[in-house]
């Protein structure tokens, strides 16, 4: 039996191996993704993002547990929960220390929860290049929901907005004033805002700043969107407020279905995925069609100021990609 078939049959060893193949971009991984793709599209993908140390892993730990209980009650659904946790790779050595499992002690013995740590491997948007593909594999294996924890994100690591159906943005008390809250970027992508460590001081002012940010949204765009991100308080280490977050996720899921926004988001995601693949493949083929040394010659010319980078690029593009 090949890996894809074994994954469909429920083998967790095959699932783990396939995730490695997919992460490494091997031919076997690509072939299996093609086979599995028809079985994807069922899982609800939940993104969890926020600054380093706000408690993303602790929240995922609690959410995975609670979702497992919740979906066990809704019998018609699978109650297996997938977790993808991304941590940064070193830009110098390519190595990584993946520490998200430390906070996931409560769920790491549960065979119904599959946790996979991923290193970002040079990607800068808060995810790894293979995260979308890994989510498809878990989806095809019947995991639902799938929780995706991003790299500790600053202000512009917003790739998760394109991948996930529901994005939870985590803040902790005492992180910046109200101007931070109206800057563009990470807060904009939130479907649910969670203030974690709500037992610490400063929680009121953080909530006020976030509420003020939401109030500034123009009435017209609010009416057209129909979803106002709720602001919830949690203490992830004790589990306080977690049930409310899960309920908010289910509400958002229902809203996406009812409003047709789920389809819209799927299209958006598939568009960006298709575009990326096309440009990757074009570049790959074009590189293969380059005569030896042409690229280096162009580089020399730019360096000696014989031509501009744009001129050199146009010249190199004269070599058209070979057909497959």
């Amino acid at each position: 039996m090949d890996l894809a078939a074994e994954v469909r049959a429920g083998s967790r060893l095959a699932l783990a191996r396939l995730l490695t193949e997919v992460e490494n971009g091997t031919e076997q991984g690509k072939a299996a993704l093609d086979t599995l793709f028809p079985y994807t599209g069922h899982a609800h993908l939940i993104g969890i993002t926020g600054s380093p140390g706000t408690g993303k892993s602790s929240l995922v730990n609690q959410l995975a547990r609670t979702f497992r209980k919740f979906s066990a009650a809704r019998v018609e659904e699978s109650n297996r929960v997938g977790v993808l946790a991304i941590d940064p790779s070193s830009p110098f050595t390519g190595g990584a220390l993946l520490g998200d499992r430390i906070r996931m002690r409560d769920i790491s013995g549960d065979p119904g929860i599959f946790i996979r740590s991923m290193a970002s491997r040079g990607a800068l948007g808060g995810l790894a290049h293979a995260t979308a593909a890994a989510a498809q594999v878990l989806d095809a294996a019947g995991y639902n929901p799938i929780l995706i924890e991003t790299v500790g994100a600053g202000q512009s690591e917003v790739d998760i907005a394109r991948l996930a159906h529901t994005v939870i943005v985590l803040q902790s008390p005492g992180s910046g004033d109200d101007i931070q809250a109206i800057k563009a970027g990470i807060l904009e992508i939130a479907d649910i805002l969670v203030i974690n460590k709500a037992d610490q001081t400063g929680v009121e002012s953080t909530e006020m700043a976030l509420r003020a940010m939401l109030d500034l949204v123009s009435p017209s765009s609010r009416e057209s969107s129909g979803w106002i991100p709720p602001i919830l308080r949690t203490v992830a280490t004790t589990g306080e407020g977690i049930q409310e977050v899960c309920e908010a996720v289910y509400r958002h899921q229902a809203y996406l279905q009812a409003s047709g926004e789920r389809k819209q988001r799927d299209y958006l995601r598939l568009t960006s995925e298709l575009n990326c693949l096309i440009s990757d493949l074009l570049v790959q083929k074009w590189r293969a069609s380059l005569p030896d040394g042409a690229y280096h010659q162009a580089l020399e010319k730019i360096h000696s100021r014989e031509c501009s980078p744009l001129q050199a690029a146009l010249e190199l593009l004269q070599f058209s990609p070979k057909k497959v």
């Binding site: 971009g25 990584a96 520490g99």
Partner: protein, 138 residues
């Protein structure tokens, strides 16, 4: 198109809380370009085997300073093998009396690193164990 990365789990089973050694080794392997999954303190053998499975680890490094290695290691090895991960290499770091080294090796542990082991040696031997490169141990 990324090359194969060596994935290592570093775990501390049992009740001792001395994790400096585990962190030093984790850091050294990270700096050698490996992807190190650090699971933290007080892991059960079941949790370690489960992590090795889900993470598709090539290597599992176990740090024990409590003296419970004769109980914990056979169990960990048994669970990992029962999951079908026959190729996973397991090494142990910590305080292991000489008399127990043979016992642990018979359980399938491929190396034991006591206090003072140079991290360069650990890196070289981990790489050799996974890739089958000739060992350049100090």
């Amino acid at each position: 198109m990324t090359e194969k990365k060596i994935r290592v789990i570093i775990a501390k089973p049992g009740l001792d809380g001395h994790d400096r050694g585990a962190k030093v080794v984790a850091r050294a392997l990270r700096d050698a370009g490996m992807e190190v999954i650090y699971t933290g303190l007080r892991q059960t053998p079941e949790m370690i085997a489960e992590a090795a499975l889900q993470e598709d680890a090539d290597v599992v490094g176990i740090s024990i300073l409590s003296g419970a290695h004769r109980t914990l290691l056979p169990r960990i090895m048994e669970l990992i093998r029962a999951n079908g991960q026959t190729n996973v290499k397991v090494f142990v770091g910590g305080i292991i009396p000489d008399a127990d080294v043979i016992f642990l090796k018979e359980c399938g542990v491929y190396a034991i690193y006591g206090p003072g082991t140079p991290t360069t040696q650990i890196v070289a031997e981990v790489r050799a164990a996974v890739l089958g490169e000739p060992q350049t141990a100090a």
